[in-house]
Symmetry: D2
Subunit: 274 residues, 4 copies
């Protein structure tokens, strides 16, 4: 192809993820038929996002984090959205899309924000600060500017059962030389700093704990959100499918008989001239 438009077009979309020619599909250089059956699904996720294959142990740790965050029940807006959409006459992909779309900065971004927090503390430590001082200072600064400290405390669980289990896996991985344990230490320092400031424990939750794993494994914060989406999509699909089987047409958030509160103006006539 030597004409200029063709060259310009071929430059428009560029990717290092996938290379194809008729009969050939390669991801990051590996033929798809070599990958299928030889690498686990978490390893494939890693390859697609990072460009290189992980070790089996790295892939397993990633897989554990993906298992941990699949679902938190039909009271979560994302799950409720999936279930409601499933009664409205759309394909299961669209019910999933409406739900995944709601995993925004607040509902889906807590892990990403915890990763950014850990990275900020890591930068302070790299600059020479002691870990506990670095954590206390970063927490203080964020609270002073009214930022949320995401990844700690839970409005439903006094202790989130997923967090200690994930931390134990990180500790195993540290002992095995798989990860440095640096981010687990940072997260525990944040936990200590928060407890001191608040006068009560605010234990690490699922977002704080998966953030430790994703940081230990070298993922950047924005991919923390992406990995959470991949994980929570499983629960979203399970609930959309369950709702489909339960049936229901145009199912609202509460029973029709419960209704909602109206807080607006009393009945009024339309004035003339409008």
């Amino acid at each position: 192809m030597t004409d200029p438009t063709a060259e310009k077009m071929a430059d428009w979309w560029q990717t290092s993820v996938i290379d194809m020619s008729p009969g050939v599909i390669r991801f990051r250089g590996y033929a798809i038929e070599d990958l299928i059956g030889n690498v686990s699904f978490p390893a494939m996720i890693w390859l697609m996002l990072r460009g290189e294959l992980p070790s089996a142990a790295q892939a397993d740790l990633l897989g554990a984090a993906l298992v941990a965050a699949v679902d938190h029940g039909p009271q979560a807006p994302s799950i409720a959205i999936a279930r409601m959409a499933a009664t409205c006459g759309v394909g299961i992909n669209s019910a999933m899309a409406s739900a995944i779309n709601a995993l925004g900065d607040i509902h889906g971004g807590a892990g990403q924000q915890a990763m950014s927090l850990y990275a900020a503390i890591e930068a302070r430590v790299a600059g020479g600060a002691a870990l506990d001082m670095a954590a206390a200072a970063e927490v203080a600064e964020r609270l002073a500017s009214k930022q949320m400290i995401e990844g700690f405390g839970h409005r439903f669980h006094p202790v989130d059962p997923r967090a200690p289990r994930l931390l134990a896996l990180v500790e195993d991985a540290r002992r095995g030389g798989l990860v440095s344990g640096r981010y687990a230490a940072i997260a525990l320092a944040v936990e200590a700093a928060l407890a001191k400031r608040k006068g009560k424990p605010l234990p690490m939750n699922i977002d704080g704990a998966t953030a430790v794993i994703y940081c230990e494994l070298g993922f950047p914060p924005e991919l923390g959100r992406g990995l959470f989406v991949l994980s929570r999509s499983v629960g979203i699909l399970a609930h959309a499918w369950e709702q489909t089987q339960q049936g229901g047409r145009i199912k609202g958030p509460v029973p029709p008989s419960v209704g909602y509160g109206y807080t607006g103006p009393a009945p009024r006539p339309l004035e003339q001239g409008e």
Copy 2:
């Protein structure tokens, strides 16, 4: 441009809706600066979808149908989705998208289906059948094959207050020579056929009535869904915005204390070997 790739590219995306060059924007041939301030928003909607401008009276009747369907309250899944998504940390466009996405075949497609029903009856009449026979036969055939008859009856309103008002506007338009009144007659024949079969009235609802207007004005059924989306988007935006102002973070469908019912297996240990 004479090279083949450039020609091929210029053929890939083609539209009769909009024509642009630097400093010039034309819709269906009309310069945007001529349209702005000179045609109403419903007239612009008509032009974009149909290719020609409507008369002012046609645009007004379209506008009345768009006004009628803006909202049906926070118990509708689409509205609840918009409100929940608005508490999850996404832009208001994304809160709207999650909701609009749920206006599927069941939640958003009733008007479209009513339009198809009317068209099928119209075809029978065009083939020589009397209107009441045509309506009864089409209804019978659809019920026999377990199809829903959309546009009639309402689970909340004994009489949907929007329908008689819209029908009165159609009747005015018929008297004024703006529309034929053919589809209003068809819809009333469907109403009669249903009442006879069911032994009780199933009065026309908002979907059945807007379907009459869209058919009278010459829109195809699939655009009936599209027009409903444009209309309901207004309510979706109003509720997303109201929820944003009310605040709330990760607001679920019911209060946290109400919970949900669990119907699955009792607690069980993970067996070895898994």
Copy 3:
């Protein structure tokens, strides 16, 4: 209802937008049957978002802004997304949702950001600054902190033909006493400040001009984005519908023969042990 759960439930969803009982639908206090046929679609949009009906002249000015922004062609990502989705086997509401979802901070938020800019300058003026100084200072401060100044300049149009036409309508409205003209003056001061800094004109574009109208009419910035979504949804629907009629299955962004550039690793074997 006197039991506590029922009361709690009725408090969970609250709205001042819509009030319903069987056979009755009221928006902001007005019966729907009074609104249908008596208020224009833009007036209904205003009522839903603001709580009160506008005058006919206010509704007309709002309508002009809504007409102006309906579409900017298939090269805009939102329009391309709608067209592609329409070939993938989803309902027209879902094709629209995928597109509307992409009207994010960059693609759909420029008007909102221009409104915030104008409000910040207005606050400086209210604090005693001269308009040209206030505009220059606000622009300088934003550029110094690497913020974009949205609403001015266009990568395609040397002069955006929509802007002068919208400004002329604002000037008419000012003369008629409908609006103060304050925000038009602010926008022109921004235009002057930018021209001075850049050494070349960066004329107001559609986002800067609709922002003037929405500010003059008293809408808050976040609703600026919402109103843009309502407007652009018309173009999104028109293109999704046109693509549906053109046909196509799984239509990609460029012709299959054009392809894309691959920039990743060369073919490589999967190493043992992975």
Copy 4:
């Protein structure tokens, strides 16, 4: 809780997927801390969708199918949508949602349709028909009624390299007693029937091959679409992330200089009276 509203509310949302109390999260009866680190991500997906845990071998076969379908390049509309949305100022979850939403009946439903086809042939065989006759009859009937036969042939790959590899894994699983091999045989019979009718080979593609695996493992057709979404979400995320790193603002489908074809009316003046 004995008051009627509370009971009614607790009945509104019901699930057998997840059971929670403060400090406790169980999926299908298993405590989350037992699942984390002990079951693979594909096994967790299976548990969530099916209610019981698979064997490790079943989970591996599911994982192989999930690995196979992650991506088919930026020319697929879903991937292009994700990349474009990533330049529009939305979170990565929203870029993913717009893309996943486009995995509709045509773009995402081929596997589901292949599963339904296999099930229909299986039903014929269960009714006493010979496999090759059953396949030929079902194919003939569908083609006669203008239905697509999904899962066979590919517009880009003469032979889809993913299909033979997946089939080889199914054959291994059959020899190991993990699956019956029944659906592989059905798919091959379809391949033969199609080749005979068309006079040329239409070899099984990724959708036809993953459909074999999902059928062999006992998933219903609708979940075939859901599993495809989970798999393709990985590629969607990888491309959204890559585009984010490449930068770009409001990136359209083709270079701005290429443009699009306009096929509508020539410039025309707005007539008076409109």
